[in-house]
Amino acid sequence: MNAASHQFGDLATQLLTESRRSTATDTLFKYNDVLVRSIIREQRQLEGFIQAALNDPKNNPANGGENPAMPTILLYQTAIMRNKRCLLAYHHHRIERLKDLYWAVGGAVPLLLSMPSGSSNVGSQQTGGAASAPSDIRSKLSPHEVDFLRSYAASLLVLRTEAFSSDGTEGLTEDVDLLAPITRPPKDLHVLVRVVRDCGVVSTEQGAIDFRKGHRFLVHRADVEHLIVQGFLEEV
């Protein structure tokens, strides 16, 4: 760290730039543990400076008047507040992205974690994350983020099974699949799909169908919606 050019808050700015780039390129970057740690170190250092300024006998305000170190302390305080907000913003931005990913794959957490990274825009494009290293989403997350994702999925599961109607009748899940996509309203009852990955035998309205890679089927959309979302099938 070059003391001459270093200012408080520089690191936090780097962190925010990363968030912004993440939004701009629609990718989830690897959790920047190193940077987060250095900012936290800076916070401790700043707190130390404040304490030192407060305890300095030179600055003792006992003889009436203001503490002459007040402007210095204010400067440190401002830097602390800014760093803290930047840290929180970075983490918040990441969990928002995670939530987006969660909804994009129809709530399948294990699938999401093992998904090749670099293809965060599921569905809209071919799932060809070949450009980036063959690492999955999980390797980009901090352990706390994996925990968050699991708890979030659990909370939504409770929400979905609890009855929406106040009179306590059947839960909503029976009729409406909340996790199905909401980008385009259904125009057709049936959909022509191509199988991208084997997904075994699935029971549909027309009976059980064995979805083997490369085959095409005309099926009831509601029956296979989740398979399309999770990338097993592709609309033709």
Binding site: L87, L88, H92, E145, D147, F148, V158, E162, L172, E174
Partner: protein, 217 residues
């Protein structure tokens, strides 16, 4: 089945609205309003009951070998319509969910918000607020010196740490009937005639919206 015929995007006659049209209206309002509107559980329940009944009927008819070609065609239309109703229901709930999560910590701390949510939604909001706070604590706050761990700093010139609905956001409103006058930010009064469309900050027409005199478009 709710009337599927002409798409009444702006139904003029409030008295003859079907529950599907009501849902469409609440769906659009919810999607356009910056704040969370009162939940429509009763309406949703009614519609879902209807959908369930309709699906059962369809199953029966399909199983019946005597149904004619024309009937099969009609069955298909009904099924498509069912899927579309479900789509709106889904989108409506997800829209609310999005806002609920966005303002989860505000909701958890503000009792007035509670009555607008269903029991399940409120529970989810509280769980989600706890979850986010826990995550912040684990990742950031617990490593900071003790003086810096609060999640409720009130610093002048900095945005609040608890996001709240932005009621200043402009919305397009369509008057469903002649409305009582509302006060605009500059002090003048706005009286909307039936069918009139205006662009105002949300808080100006909030009460009109809750009284169902206007809808957001």
């Amino acid at each position: 089945m709710p009337d599927a015929g002409a798409p009444h995007i702006l139904p003029q006659d409030a008295a003859e609205e079907t529950s599907y049209q009501q849902l469409m209206k609440h769906w659009m309002n919810e999607r356009h309003a910056p704040d969370i509107l009162p939940g429509q559980e009763v309406l949703l329940g009614k519609l879902l009951d209807h959908v369930r009944k309709q699906s059962d009927d369809v199953q029966l008819l399909r199983a019946d070998p005597d149904s004619s070609e024309e009937e099969h065609f009609r069955i298909m239309l009904v099924q498509t319509e069912i899927e579309r109703v479900k789509f709106v229901v889904r989108s409506y709930i997800r829209t609310r969910l999005h806002k609920i999560e966005k303002f989860a910590r505000f909701i958890a701390a503000t009792p007035e918000m509670h009555e607008r949510l269903s029991k399940a939604e409120l529970e989810h909001a509280k769980r989600y607020a706890r979850l986010v706070e826990y995550h912040f604590n684990q990742t950031v706050l617990q490593s900071l010196p003790e003086e810096q761990r609060s999640l409720e700093d009130n610093v002048p010139f900095m945005p609040s740490m608890i996001p709240q609905p932005d009621k200043l956001r402009p919305v397009f409103v369509h008057a469903r009937q002649a409305c009582a006058p509302v006060r605009l930010p500059d002090g003048s009064a706005l009286t909307m005639q039936k069918g009139q469309i205006s662009l105002t900050p949300y808080y100006v027409i909030e009460q009109l919206l809750l009284r169902n005199e206007v809808e957001l478009v």
